[in-house]
């Protein structure tokens, strides 16, 4: 295994990690407030579709990104309305979101792009940082990614700081750990949870947009392919720590890149074997980390004033 292979692997691992990173960071905040959203998959799909549709319509990937953020936030709001306001079971509401996202994105795609077999999607370009990008090894690894990648890393650090060092973070943690304590301190539990859920939806929307306008250039039905679930595994594996999410998302991204690159080396092994690799990793991670004491104590429990 030569150095070129390794840098290539790591660099593409980073690219695979970014959609996971956004979705998992948003889910971390949502879960910290006590709301589980298993519907990330559906939100990412809608984000991916909207990003393509609006990139084409506006001619700019940023227009597509904005649409994906708004669409993701809207689905987050929907989840919040059911799970937080109406106290519907969070799993049920999340499952509904997956099916809704699958249907909406597939249907929307056929509606908008029917009979246009190939069209050019204005996607995100990699940043050209001049000399830095041309550095051997480090260039492709660190300085040749899309702007969104750097934004994601900054967000991970920023969210970690907010959650551990600020009053806002304290409020969100209290709502997810002991909503009664938060309520008696005068905090509107449902409002905090709503906002966190909307934020989580918007972040998943960005993750979807990255998939369709930065990683690939175009929308394919069911293109998220389980990444929404992997993102949830990331949150658990990272023990609800945004910095941990960054590290875990990279691990999963590299595993994904590895499975693609390993396939040609072992032609005698069915490729499906490699495709399952990240999911096996997710299973192992969940089995190991599921009993973490960092689990927000009130996760999935609707708050009712007594």
């Amino acid at each position: 295994m030569d150095l070129m292979f390794l840098t290539g692997l790591l660099a593409s691992g980073v690219r695979f990690a970014i959609p996971l990173l956004f979705a998992a960071l948003g889910e971390t905040i949502g879960q910290k407030s006590g709301v589980l959203n298993v519907g990330l998959e559906g939100i990412m799909l809608v984000g991916a579709f909207l990003a393509v549709a609006f990139s084409v319509a506006t001619g700019s990937p940023w227009g597509g990104l904005l649409a994906a953020i708004l669409g993701g936030a809207a689905l987050g709001l929907l989840h919040g309305l059911f799970a937080v306001r109406l106290k519907v079971d969070q799993i049920v509401s999340g499952l509904a979101l997956i099916l809704l996202g699958l249907g909406l994105s597939g249907f929307g795609y056929r509606l908008v792009f029917a009979g246009q077999p190939s069209m050019r999607v204005p996607g995100f370009d990699r940043l050209d940082l001049g000399v830095l990008s041309d550095l051997p090894l480090l260039g492709p690894l660190l300085f040749s990614h899309h702007a969104l990648a750097y934004l994601g890393i900054l967000l991970a650090v920023g969210l970690w700081w907010i959650m551990t060092r600020t009053g806002l973070g304290l409020t969100i943690r209290a709502v997810g750990e002991n909503p009664k304590a938060a309520d008696s301190a005068g905090i509107d539990v449902d409002k905090v949870r709503m906002l966190c859920t909307i934020f989580g939806g918007a972040m998943a929307g960005i993750g979807g947009a990255y998939l369709s306008t930065a990683q690939l250039a175009g929308f394919v039905e069911d293109m998220v392919a389980g990444r929404g679930f992997i993102a949830i595994a990331c949150v658990v594996f990272a023990r609800w720590n945004p910095l941990g999410v960054l590290a875990v998302a990279l691990i999963f991204g590299i595993a994904d890149a590895a499975q693609i690159r390993l396939q040609p080396f072992f032609p005698q092994v069915p490729y499906q074997f490699f495709v399952t690799l990240p999911y096996v990793l997710a299973l192992v991670a969940l089995a190991g980390a599921a009993r973490s004491s960092n689990l927000p104590a009130a996760l999935t429990q609707p708050y009712r004033k007594s």
């Binding site: 943690r173 209290a174 002991n178």
Partner: protein, 522 residues
């Protein structure tokens, strides 16, 4: 003791309740209650379960609103709409069940809901914790994690939280129920410091000892009404008990005397040749989190004997009971019950078959299923004994048993088909006892059997245990209540800080010694 009653005419009361009433549907929880508290006055609010104490607390702290009547704070009539509203008016409350976040530090707990969304100023927060703690002579580490504190420590944080705002009235709801005697003394020091500071305190309590230790006035509620409001120097414990159970301050009638408050003569000491039913040797137990709960514990319980397992909660009592009930295996040493050994098959099913009855301390989680009927709850412990048939349940027999228990144990219910969750805690507990004692057990594991019950039910529960003892059962009584231990136990073993004291004969020790052991002193 500081007396402030004579000053009541000149000072404005911190809180005045005038003709407060509150009904829930058909039930009148509080009827025309009037009560006032002056600055620097400690008032005990007493009453049986269901007398309306909690409703009064809820109205004062903004959890519920009265149907009629007025609440005046410092002479001004107010409407307390929410807990936040109560806080803003200077009314702080420490609930029986604390509202704390386990992974917060003490300082963060104080910041919650008061700090802005931006960066937390930890230094200022720590300084504030120290300032408030010093004011009332309280020891607390600002950086300590809430989850690492014991019950008394968490209670101190709750008090601190209330005092970090300008508080004129502090409501303490059953503050001594879960504390060791030493921590109770420390709490009372804090109460006295607050009183000297001019804070009015309303202490809701079950324990008469609290009233005489620290309170200035005793207010007693009976079925929603205030039946007694007197300076503590003018009341006796007999008078208070009488007011609590009958609503009158006359002497208690002989037939209504509570079995718990007079120590009954022991009918017969267990014969020395009575068979040993429970034998524990060098037992070691771990908590769910892996820490050592019990180490090197050895004792025997013979037939016809009550062994008290004393200690403040969390010193391994629940682990021991879980082990003896067959839920967990020992992590070291052996336990033997009625020819079953922890080295052999050891499960709740095996032990129940051998004659073990288990009254868990957490009634709602471990003993009953709230949504199911009394009859169905009756069956729960007897599924494997096939008392109610094999494949098909013999519902008529279950209903008969339940109806008999309802009569025998005086359970207040509409009948065997009522969901047990609708009953009061005392009545639920009586059904649990009835169920566990149905098959004539040889060994009874009774964990806090009378906790949270009203005085009348406590007496009934204790009598039931005495009858079982006389019938030859070996009883392990887990309790933190020295009065109960003194009233029931033949011998006592005390668990404290991983170690065990005793067992000793009750005749050869006194409650002061047991209290000292509970606090970890030898």
């Amino acid at each position: 003791m500081m007396q402030t009653n004579h000053a009541a005419h000149t000072t404005v009361p911190v809180l005045e309740l005038a003709h407060l009433s509150k009904s829930y549907g058909e039930v009148r929880a509080v009827a025309g209650l009037s009560l006032s508290l002056n600055p620097g006055e400690v008032v005990a609010l007493l009453g049986e379960n269901g007398a309306g104490k909690s409703t009064v607390v809820n109205m004062i702290t903004g959890m519920t609103r009265p149907n009629s009547g007025q609440i005046r704070v410092r002479g001004k009539e107010v409407l307390i709409a929410s807990p936040r509203d109560a806080l803003d008016r200077g009314i702080g409350v420490v609930h029986q069940h604390y509202a704390l976040v386990g992974d917060f530090t003490v300082a963060e707990t104080l910041a919650l809901g008061r700090a802005g969304p931006g960066r937390l100023n930890r230094q200022a927060l720590h300084a504030e914790v120290r300032r408030v703690a010093e004011r009332i002579g309280m020891q607390i580490e600002a950086g300590a994690l809430i989850g690492s504190l014991d019950v008394a420590g968490q209670q101190r944080v709750e008090i601190l939280k209330a005092l970090s705002r300008e508080v004129g009235l502090l409501v303490l709801d059953e503050p001594t129920a879960v504390l060791s005697p030493e921590d109770v003394a420390r709490l009372f020091d804090v109460v006295r410091a607050l009183r000297a500071d001019g804070v009015a305190i309303l202490m809701v309590t079950h324990r008469l000892a609290d009233v005489f230790a620290v309170c200035d006035r005793a207010a007693v509620m009976h079925s929603g009404q205030l039946v007694c409001d007197l300076p503590v120097m003018d009341v006796t414990s007999e008078g208070l008990i009488s007011a609590m159970i009958s609503g009158s301050t006359d002497t208690v009638q002989e037939s209504e005397r509570m079995p718990g408050d007079v120590m009954p003569a022991r009918q017969a000491a267990p014969a020395n040749d009575a068979p040993t039913r429970v034998s524990v040797r060098d037992l070691a137990l771990r908590r769910a989190n892996g820490s050592q709960a019990v180490q090197g514990l050895s004792f025997d319980i013979r037939a016809g004997e009550i062994m008290a397992l004393a200690g403040v909660d969390g010193n391994g009592q629940s682990e021991l009971v879980q082990c003896l009930a067959g839920v967990n295996l020992p992590d070291g040493g052996t336990a033997e019950i009625c020819n079953c050994s922890s080295d052999g098959p050891w499960s709740p099913r095996v032990l129940r078959h051998a004659g073990v009855a288990h009254v868990p301390d957490d009634r709602r989680r471990q003993a009953i299923i709230s949504d199911l009927s009394l009859g169905a709850n009756m069956i729960l412990s007897h599924v494997f004994s096939r008392r109610y048939g094999r494949a098909m349940l013999d519902w008529s027999r279950a209903r008969d048993d339940t109806s008999r228990a309802i009569d025998e144990y005086d359970i207040r219910t509409t009948g065997p088909d009522q969901p047990i969750g609708r009953l009061s805690g005392g009545n639920q507990q009586k059904l649990v006892l009835a169920r566990e004692l149905l098959a004539g057990p040889k060994v009874i594991l009774a964990a806090h059997p009378s906790r949270g019950l009203d005085i009348r039910t406590i007496g009934a529960v204790q009598n039931i245990l005495r009858q079982q003892r006389d019938a030859g059962a070996a009883i392990l009584l887990v309790s933190a209540d020295l009065d109960e231990i003194r009233a029931l136990a033949d011998r006592v073993v005390v668990l404290a800080a991983g170690g065990a004291f005793g067992p000793v004969d009750m005749a050869q020790t006194d409650t002061a010694q047991i209290g000292a052991w509970m606090a970890g002193h030898t």
